[in-house]
Structures are given as structure tokens and as C-alpha cells.
């Protein structure tokens, strides 16, 4: 927003002809400075995003042209050399599935905690608990990585064993022999990592539900939970969606914790649908191989993979936007 005049109701000095509104405001230095600064920042942000995208594409295209394999459907990863052949299927699968499972766990749980903190917890508890959640949301991911490796992995192993022996007949839960950084394990650690994000943002918006709406529901004879269902949840919906998208973005792009925990598969490992398989995500694959960025052709392959991650997060965010926009008329 630039140059929108905000005309103050200032009494004019006696005898002066009243100034036109436009005249009065465009002359105001503060307005112009702020308007200019806002426009400039907007332009800079857009320019930067465009530049980054252009940079990535320019680097990736030559490598993609040399690629002997199908980039989207191949599971081989042999970039560089005379006969480069690489595809992203493994990373795409691991990233998307781990992210999706993390969301399936984190969103309901995070929203439930936010509801508890805003609607059920005793008043004295709300402030401190909220501060604690905000703090958790700011914990660096390496801490979650360490905790996952040292504390959680030994705890998860028997659980995985039990699931495999009980539900192993189901292809998604089949035994693979891999016990460390399986997709499911990574997903659970990611979900624990993003629950505070979902909770912190959802809590904020739930707490803003206007009292008038809540009283309206109660006066109709709603129970506490029905009041939450008819007013707090619908009011908080856009916020919960945004929070989930932010959390998903973090889960999809999470690098350090996943790099730490992941069990990478040998080249040419057999395909399995099992969530107890290992496999790199985009981010961990790139991070694990940063040392290999020796020539443009190799680097290009990794950058192409990064571009897919970029597009993935973009698509996810766009879908969220559309969902929010579609209901806009119903959310003041």
C-alpha cells in the first residue's frame, strides 16, 4: 500500500483556504517515506525470489539435458561423469511420505494442545504453558536430531518390531530389515519437531475468537465442546491451515535432523512400499553430498533436485491459499 492518503482532522489556521485532501497528505514526509520503503521492500523480495529461481534453473538445465535417465521416475543417482543418469523418485517418495505422516500426527495433536491451552486449561496455567510451547517451537532442529538418535531411536525400535510382526502382512508396514532411520521413524521425529509450531500459531488464533461468538453459541445451549466446534474451530481454520503449511514446509525442507537420522539406501536397492524402508529426502541427499559439488554437471543434478523441492513447497502453499480464499466470505 503506497500513497494512500490518511487525512488527519487538523483545524486549518484561520483565513487559509482549506487544503485539498490529496495535497495535504502527499506532502507529508512520513507517509511518503514509509510508502516508499514498503514499495521498495516488496520489489526487492519479488526480485530476489525471481533471481534465485533463475539461478537454480540456469544451473540445472544443462545437467538435465545430459541426463540419461528419466529425472522424475528413475531411482538411480549417478550424476556427473560421461554418462550421467539420475532420477528423484526415491527422494520424492521419502520426502512426501515422511512429510505427510508427520502432518497426520502433528496437526491433530498440535491443534488439540492449542485447544486445551486456550479453552480448557486453568487460567493460571495458560501463560506459562504458552511460553513453553513458543520456546519449543524455537528449539534448533539439530537438538531434535540428537534427541532422536540418542533417546528416541532405542525407544522406537521395539515399537517398530511389534508393528512389523503384527501388521507386516500390510505392504506399507512390511518388514525390511532396516531399523534405524526408517521413513516412519523420521516422520515421527519430524512430527514431534513441528507440533510446537502448529500449537503456537493455532493457539494464537484460537485465543482471538471473539467472546461474542462464543457467548452466542453458549446461549443457544451449546456444550463447551459444541461451542468450540461451532465458533473456535471455524474461526481458527485459516490460521490452522497456515500453521500446518508452515509446519509442512519445515518438515519437507528439514535438513539437519533428517541428515543425522536417515538410513540411506545403496544404489539399486529393491523397491518396497514399506514405511520401514530407509531412503534419503531431498534435503538430506543434498546435504550429505555437498562435498561432491565438484563440477557443474554434478552440481546441476543436485540443484535440479532442489528445484523439485522448491516446486513441491510452492504447490503445497498454493493449495492452502486456495482453500483459505474459497471460504473467505465466511470468515470476516
Amino acid at each position: 500500500m503506497t500513497g494512500v492518503p490518511v487525512v488527519d482532522e487538523k483545524p486549518e489556521p484561520k483565513g487559509n483556504a482549506p487544503l485539498g485532501g490529496d495535497n495535504a497528505s502527499t506532502a507529508r514526509l512520513g507517509d511518503r517515506l514509509f510508502g516508499g520503503a514498503a514499495t521498495a521492500s516488496g520489489v526487492i523480495v519479488i526480485a530476489m525470489v525471481t533471481l534465485i529461481a533463475t539461478f537454480l534453473i540456469v544451473q540445472a538445465v544443462p545437467a538435465l539435458l545430459d541426463n540419461q535417465e528419466n529425472f522424475l521416475t528413475s531411482r538411480a543417482w549417478n550424476p556427473g561423469g560421461d554418462q550421467p543418469g539420475f532420477g528423484i523418485l526415491e527422494f520424492l517418495w521419502t520426502t512426501v511420505v515422511a512429510g505427510a505422516i508427520a502432518m497426520l500426527i502433528a496437526v491433530p495433536f498440535g491443534v488439540a494442545v492449542a485447544l486445551f491451552l486456550t479453552q480448557y486449561a486453568p487460567v493460571w496455567m495458560r501463560g506459562p504453558a504458552a511460553a513453553l510451547v513458543d520456546l519449543l517451537a524455537a528449539v534448533p532442529s539439530i537438538v531434535y536430531g540428537l534427541w532422536g538418535l540418542i533417546t528416541f531411536a532405542p525407544f522406537f525400535r521395539p515399537i517398530q518390531g511389534w508393528i512389523e510382526s503384527t501388521f507386516g502382512w500390510f505392504p506399507l508396514l512390511a518388514q525390511t530389515g532396516i531399523t534405524g532411520g526408517t521413513i516412519l521413524f523420521i516422520a515421527v521425529v519430524l512430527s514431534i519437531m513441528v507440533v510446537p509450531i502448529v500449537t503456537a500459531l493455532s493457539r494464537e488464533i484460537f485465543a482471538q475468537t471473539p467472546l461474542a461468538h462464543k457467548e452466542g453459541a453458549l446461549a443457544l445451549g451449546a456444550t463447551h465442546w459444541e461451542m468450540i466446534r461451532t465458533t473456535v474451530l471455524p474461526f481458527g481454520r485459516p490460521g490452522v491451515i497456515s500453521a500446518s503449511m508452515l509446519a509442512l514446509g519445515r518438515a519437507l525442507g528439514e535438513t539437519i535432523a533428517v541428515t543425522f537420522l536417515v538410513s540411506s539406501l545403496p544404489n539399486g536397492a529393491a523397491w518396497t512400499w514399506s514405511l520401514f524402508n530407509g531412503g534419503e529426502t531431498f534435503a538430506s541427499k543434498i546435504a550429505n553430498n555437498a562435498a561432491e559439488f565438484s563440477n557443474p554437471s554434478r552440481t546441476g543434478a543436485y540443484i535440479a533436485a532442489a528445484l523439485v523441492l522448491f516446486v513441491l513447497t510452492f504447490v503445497v502453499n498454493s493449495i492452502a491459499r486456495i482453500v483459505i480464499e474459497r471460504r473467505k466470505a465466511f470468515s470476516e
Partner: protein, 258 residues
């Protein structure tokens, strides 16, 4: 299906602050009772004790007795949710649910009661909107958001929402204070019709309104700021406005207040 309300020696507190003291009154069924009195004397506070909305506020607490016919609203085993289904409420500021359509706003209370049948819902939504004199204006846009209506229409939507669940009593806290004279008149007419079915209690700052719509009028007052509000007198509206028993009432009505 209207009911009588009998209040005996009611004290109302916000935490340690006693906001209303010693109210005893009877509210007749199928009639309109108006509450008048200066700002801060506890009209809203007292009104909200009649459907147990007062206790929604942290620290809100009540002493004394409120009987709805032969049911004690504050009996230990009485469920406040059940009380609010019997005693409906319309607020000062229209508060339709912003995430719901006009239809869903009116159907909200019915759905809470477990009514799912589409035909039943359609029927009650239409009759409630007609009861609130809103049907003609919204029948072609029932699926549009309720928040998109004008203030007066929103208030009538809230009335439709309240009467859709067929309460015995309808409490209205300054329902017209945010509305223009035309919408106000529409709602006053509506109150006149609704009293054939419901017991109505209306808080108002508008003396003419009290005189126009109510059968009985209760005058509340404060002895001094910081003191609890109390009921000065309640009588037939014509008596209150023409020949009140108390000097304070006379002063307030004739504008010689304070």
C-alpha cells in the same frame, strides 16, 4: 409454552465485587418485561443470571434463587446447557456466526439439539425467519454468509436463531441499541408478536421503547458508584411511567436523574 420466572433475593458477583444485590421479582409468562435504569446498575448482569450465562465469565457467581415455573435454575443438579436451551438470549451487538451461512445460523441451535432431517430443518428455518420478519429479505440468499447482512438484518437473524430452538423465555439485552429507527421499529413489532408465544425480557435505555413494547417495567438503580445495583420497583408499565411508587423512579423517568 411460555414460563413464569420467580427470582428471590438474588445477589450477583464478579469475583469479590457484588454487582447486583437482593433482587426479588416475578416475570409473567406471555408478556414483555422491560428493564430500565442508569448505565452500570446491573441490568445486563442480572439478565444474564436468568439463563446462567453469568457464570461463563471467570469469577461470575450467584446467590439466591431463580425459579422457572417449578424448576430451580441454580439447583445443584441443574445443567446450565439445558437452562440455556430453555431460556434463549439476544445480545446487544448482533453476533451471527461469521463462518456460517444465513441458513446454518438459524439451524445451528437445532443441529446442536440433534435435528438432522433436512425437511424438518428447512421448515423450522423458514418459520423462524418468518417469525423474525426476515424471510422476505433473505429467502433468495440463504446460503450467503450471515455476516453479509445489514446490522438490523443481522439482529433479526440472531432473533431467528434464538427462536428456532423454541425456548420458553427470550432475553434481549438492548437489542436495538446498534440499529437505526426503522430496524428498531421492526424489532419492536416483532417483540409484540413474539410475546404471544414466549416470555420476553428486554433491557433498554430507551424510555419510549419500554413504554411502547412492555407490559411490565422494572427499574434498577445504584445507590452510589461502587455500590451494588438493586431493583427499585417493578410494576405495570403504565403505572411506572404515570404514577411510580418510588421517588427515584419518578426522577429517572422524568430525566431528573443524578
Amino acid at each position: 409454552m411460555a414460563k413464569r420466572i420467580d427470582v428471590t433475593d438474588l445477589n450477583v458477583y464478579y469475583g469479590a465485587f457484588k454487582a447486583v444485590e437482593g433482587v426479588t421479582m416475578t416475570i409473567e409468562p406471555r408478556s414483555v418485561t422491560a428493564f430500565i435504569g442508569p448505565s452500570g446498575c446491573g441490568k445486563s448482569t442480572f439478565l444474564r443470571t436468568l439463563n446462567r450465562m453469568h457464570e461463563v465469565i471467570a469469577g461470575g457467581r450467584v446467590e439466591g434463587k431463580v425459579m422457572l415455573d417449578d424448576q430451580d435454575l441454580y439447583a445443584p443438579r441443574m445443567d446450565p446447557v439445558a437452562v440455556r436451551r430453555t431460556v434463549g438470549m439476544v445480545f446487544q451487538r448482533p453476533n451471527p456466526f461469521p463462518t456460517m451461512s444465513i441458513y446454518d445460523n438459524v439451524a445451528a441451535g437445532l443441529r446442536l439439539n440433534g435435528v438432522k432431517n433436512k425437511k424438518t430443518l428447512d421448515g423450522i428455518v423458514e418459520s423462524s425467519l418468518q417469525g423474525a420478519n426476515l424471510w422476505a429479505e433473505v429467502k433468495d440468499r440463504l446460503n450467503k454468509p450471515g455476516a453479509g447482512l445489514s446490522g438490523g438484518q443481522q439482529q433479526r437473524l440472531c432473533i431467528a436463531r434464538a427462536i428456532a430452538v423454541q425456548p420458553q423465555v427470550l432475553l434481549m439485552d438492548e437489542p436495538c441499541s446498534a440499529l437505526d429507527p426503522i430496524s428498531t421499529l421492526a424489532i419492536e413489532d416483532l417483540v409484540g408478536e413474539l410475546k404471544n408465544e414466549f416470555t420476553i425480557v428486554i433491557v433498554t435505555h430507551n424510555m419510549q421503547q419500554a413504554a411502547r413494547v412492555s407490559d411490565r417495567t422494572a427499574f434498577f438503580n445504584l445507590r452510589a458508584t461502587g455500590e451494588p445495583g438493586r431493583l427499585v420497583e417493578i410494576a405495570d408499565t403504565t403505572k411506572i411511567f404515570n404514577n411510580p411508587s418510588e421517588q427515584a423512579t419518578e426522577d429517572y423517568i422524568s430525566g431528573r436523574f443524578g
